[in-house]
Amino acid sequence: MYTEKLLDHFKNPRNMGRIENPDGIGKVGNPVCGDVMWIYIKVKDNRIEDIKFETFGCGAAIATSSVITELAKGKTIEEAEKITNKDVIDVLEGLPPLKKHCSLLAEEGLHAAIEDYRKKQNSQK
């Protein structure tokens, strides 16, 4: 039911872990639903210099976390904001319909981290 690409990201997740003192953190999902994603970003000169994730969830949740961090790394904030769940599914070469929400969660997680970063920026001004 999972593509080889997905299984590869699940087996060897990229950017797994946490960033101490991140510039932004996005916490999405709900343990009651079985999927929680925390996305940490470090931003330098408006660019996502580093990004990491921590995820509690199924194979698809872990793989989509891994993919979203790969897609966002090195991008400007504006570019990263344009990343959607569809981009994640494309990289994975497909996702079972029942697991589509995992890709949405990854998108939300990244966007929440960017929002958090913006909030912090504004409060420093």
Partner: protein, 386 residues
């Protein structure tokens, strides 16, 4: 490969397959036909019925053949509800039944206006016979309780519930899919009116099962067709399947005691080792009143499917709840009924052992799983923040 999912299905024994072969080929005849080769087939089907009846301590005329456990439960519930709808419209079942029973109850509720009481269970998954008694109303026509739960292995007090049903004159269906072939069954002793079994759960072929219908029990056929199975379940008999199931019953009868003592040792070893090696896990199901082959546990802060995938990479086949549950997003209804919080229920694993398992299988699992859990917990945002 290490196969630890025998509650999902078992391999069909080579001697069963061998026995079935010629009934597909040279002895293909329809048992309903008049010519002598057919009569021979008919006789063999009836011999198989006798064997299966003996296996359950029933009379041959009380056994009908079905396509498996799901069909047996479906026709038992629907067939008796339809037959007794003049008498009442209330059904009692439990909240931890297999979906074959639960969804049939929901169908009867939605489509035909029956009322269904879903009894709660205690934290071990035991149904209190007193609760069955209290749920009885003047309108109650049917009780359906499983003999043992497929996910957690808890064994229910069927004999006591059967006694209550008998005393109150209420029809009682018992889903016996997980006990048949694992523990000896006497439908007489259990006081049940219907008993469902499935051959592929005890080393028989898939696509064949049986339903015990106690003599005199009211029942309407759900499928309509020819005269086969006294018109109660028409359709040309699955002759190879029937013969295979009878053979599997015979073998199980002989090996049951041996299986029980061997698998219990292995299961206990697995349980004790995992409890020792993995922090923050909990065992689900009753400590003693539990199928000897079943181990269900929750690993906190980790999700079940990700553990199953990693186990699969290591060549270990297990499940999370029932196979039917793993295709959905909801945590197991059985674990939720035990009062386990959803976030913990998501981290469930079920190991169900069988005849081919060895101590080496257990050792491998105990070596591999703790590492998998450790790695997934490193990834989990909850693990070191608690």
């Amino acid at each position: 490969m290490v196969y630890l999912d025998y509650n999902a299905t078992t391999p069909c024994l080579p001697e069963v397959v061998e026995e079935m072969k010629r009934w597909h080929t040279e002895l293909f005849f329809n048992p309903s036909s008049i010519y002598s080769p057919s009569q021979e087939v008919k006789k063999v089907v009836e011999d198989a019925r006798k064997k299966i009846a003996g296996f359950l301590d029933a009379l041959p005329e009380e056994i009908i053949f079905t396509s498996g456990g799901t069909e047996s439960a479906n026709i038992a519930l629907t067939g008796s509800a339809f037959a007794m709808k003049d008498k009442g419209n209330h059904i009692i079942t439990s909240s931890i039944e297999h979906h074959a029973v639960l969804n049939t109850c929901k169908f009867l509720e939605k489509q035909f206006g029956f009322r269904v009481t879903y009894l709660p269970v205690d934290r071990y998954g035991i149904i209190d016979p007193e609760d069955v008694k209290k749920a009885l109303t003047e309108k109650t026509i049917l009780i359906s309780i499983m003999a043992a739960n497929n996910e957690i292995g808890t064994i229910e007090p069927i004999e006591e519930i059967g006694k209550i049903a008998k005393e109150s004159g209420i029809t009682f269906h018992c889903d016996g899919v997980q006990v048949a072939g694992k523990i000896p069954v006497s439908v007489k002793k259990l006081n049940v009116d219907f008993f469902s079994i499935s051959a592929h759960k005890f080393y028989g072929p898939k696509g064949i099962g049986a339903l015990y219908i106690r003599k005199g029990t009211r029942f309407k056929p759900i499928m309509h067709g020819g005269h086969q199975e006294k018109g109660l379940r028409p359709g040309t008999e699955n002759v190879p399947g029937i013969i295979g199931m009878a053979k599997a019953c015979e073998i199980s009868k002989n090996l049951m005691a041996e299986d029980a003592s061997r698998e219990k040792i292995l299961r206990d070893e697995l349980e004790n080792n995992l409890v020792e090696k993995i922090p923050e896990i909990q065992i689900n199901g009753h400590p003693e009143k539990r199928l000897y082959n079943t181990l269900n546990l929750c690993v906190k802060y980790v999700e079940g499917e990700s553990m199953l995938l990693h186990l699969d990479f290591e060549g270990i086949c297990a499940s999370s709840g029932s196979a039917c549950t793993s295709g959905s997003l909801e945590p197991s209804h059985v674990l939720l009924a035990l009062g386990i919080p959803p976030e913990v229920a998501h981290g469930s694993l079920r190991f169900s052992l069988g005849r081919a398992n060895t101590m080496a299988d257990i050792e491998k699992t105990c070596e591999v799983l703790p590492k998998i859990v450790e790695n997934l917990r490193k990834m989990s945002p909850f693990w070191d923040k608690k």
